[in-house]
């Protein structure tokens, strides 16, 4: 199978996770039909960013790697800080949360006597096992998981058209009026478009459009079947929706969707971290002997995730704030990546050049809105600053400690005067 086609599995990986579904159902409860508009705006923003990040001028100039684009624009240290802070908290926190959610779904839908936590750990082990395969096989598995999740969501969404409306059917949310926070919530499910490397632009656009339609169906279904206050509060509304649509079989279908979505989301994150590691080796930031140790990155990440799970982080409500902060950092990463692409593309016309910066700028703004609109704003800012400081430390370790022993030190030496 063509690698470009396989990139669809990465683009849609985040969109089909239970986390995204929760944002969709909660947003539907808060904003009603206005949230559907927010989803459309989020999809359009993702499309605009795709046009900039994967534009032909940039590719023909030889810029096809995130690290390369960020380094040329922001410099070596800043590029690593942006890359690490945008990616590492994402895999550690999101995976911890999603795996635990997957464990609950398995326990409560499929096998009640099987410990949810043990199932979450088994999923993590399975992820490491998948990552031991070669790159293309990982992508094939990834696509299989995404296809299973999308099929389940489409099937339930289609059945939902014929379902009886809930007794308190309401297409208005618990809050009236359109807010920027609602708009930012609508952008969250589309973030994964930056996962694949130099995919066919047409394919990314098609995937985002398809994903947007899928989420719109689910948003409208949520409003049709459930009370807005329930949707706004619940983190498992999609499960009761599935049962309302198709009874117990609906529960089994959504259970399969969730488990496949969790695996797809975590597997995509593992895959891109492995890719970042090989990019670091290729850029001569790490010794070339590391090139065959990509699998070790997955094991280390899995060990940290397991540690966070065993520490009971998922049972701590602060995890939700931390996950949101990681998503904000993802927004910042995408925004800066898009602006760097706009800068390097060298559009000849000043107006086009200015327009090309807008999607990235707007993405940064959406991230800032998510921070400002959160009730734990102070904690989020401290957390984000802490992550950036950690990323800076890691970048310095790579350049100063490891880089010193490399034949070609990635940091330019200061010339003696």
């Amino acid at each position: 199978m063509n690698r470009s086609v396989l990139s669809v599995g990465l683009i849609l990986a985040w969109l089909v996770t239970p986390e995204s579904l929760v944002f969709v159902t909660r947003g539907s409860g808060i904003g009603g039909l206005l949230f559907a508009a927010a989803l459309i705006c989020g999809g359009l923003l993702a499309l605009a960013n795709t046009m900039v990040i994967h534009n032909s001028r940039l590719l023909s100039a030889g810029y096809d790697k995130d690290l390369q684009v960020l380094t040329t624009t922001f410099g070596k240290v800043m590029a690593l800080v942006i890359l690490f802070s945008g990616r590492i908290p994402l895999i550690l926190l999101l995976s911890t949360g999603m795996l635990v959610s997957g464990g609950f779904v398995f326990n409560e839908i499929f096998v009640y006597w099987f410990p949810n936590f043990l199932f979450a750990v088994l999923l993590l082990i399975l992820l490491v096992f998948i990552q031991l395969f070669t790159g293309k096989k990982v992508l094939i598995i990834q696509n299989g998981l995404v296809v299973a999740a999308v099929s389940g969501l489409l099937f339930l969404g289609g059945l939902g058209v014929f379902a009886e409306p809930g007794t308190s059917q309401s297409y208005s949310g618990i809050k009236s009026g359109f807010s920027m926070t609602l708009m930012a919530m609508g952008c969250i499910p589309f973030l994964g478009f930056d996962f694949p490397r130099s995919p066919e632009r047409r394919l990314v656009l098609l995937s985002i459009t398809g994903g947007l339609l899928l989420l719109l169906i689910w948003a409208l279904l949520a409003m049709k079947l459930k009370d807005p206050s329930y949707l706004a509060e619940s983190a498992v509304a999609y499960r009761s929706m599935a049962r309302a649509v198709a009874g117990d079989p609906g529960g089994y279908i959504v259970g399969t969707v969730v488990i496949c979505g969790v695996l797809a989301g975590c597997n995509a994150l593992m895959h891109i971290h492995r890719r970042i590691f090989s990019d670091l080796v290729e850029a001569n930031y790490l010794p070339s002997t590391f090139s065959s140790f990509g699998w070790l990155v997955c094991i280390v990440l899995a060990a940290v995730i397991a540690g966070m799970m065993f520490s009971g982080l998922a049972g701590d409500k602060i995890l939700e704030t931390q996950i949101l902060a990681a998503l904000v950092l993802w927004f910042f990463y995408v925004g800066l990546r898009s602006m760097a692409a706009a800068y390097l593309s060298g559009f000849p016309h000043p107006f086009t050049r200015m327009i090309a910066f807008l999607p990235g700028l707007f993405t940064l703004f959406m991230g800032a809105i998510l921070v400002a609109g959160n009730s734990h704003v102070k904690y989020m800012i401290i957390f984000i600053l802490g992550v950036v400081a950690g990323a800076l430390l890691l970048a310095l370790i790579i350049f100063v400690v490891i880089g010193r022993h490399l034949p070609h030190n990635p940091l330019p030496r200061r010339k003696k005067t």
């Binding site: 326990n107 409560e108 006597w113 099987f114 410990p115 498992v236 998922a314 049972g315 701590d316």
Partner: protein
């Protein structure tokens, strides 16, 4: 029941067995099921984070509490009540 407080840890839906908490009595799900109609029964759902939010199973009539509120909440009930803490 005169002397309370019966602090119970019921692992209703997971296969794991119990959390050791010194002399606190532990109740299994069947025992709790048999008491559900009792007016003297108070169930406090003290699950936190995703343990609560990611679970669809909630005991009907259970009161959801933040961990910091448990001590204060138990003081609100008279000593003839049986208080069950449900944490997983």
């Amino acid at each position: 029941m005169k002397k309370i407080v019966l602090l119970l840890i019921v692992l209703l839906f997971s296969g794991t067995t119990s959390v050791w908490a010194g002399s606190v009595p532990v109740m299994d799900k069947d025992e709790l099921k048999g008491m559900l109609d009792s007016p003297d029964l108070v169930i406090l759902d003290v699950r936190t984070g995703r343990d609560w939010s990611a679970s669809e199973f909630k005991i009907a009539g259970a009161e959801f509490l933040e961990s910091a509120e448990i001590a204060e909440a138990t003081m609100e009930y008279t000593k003839d009540k049986t208080i069950v803490l449900y944490c997983a």
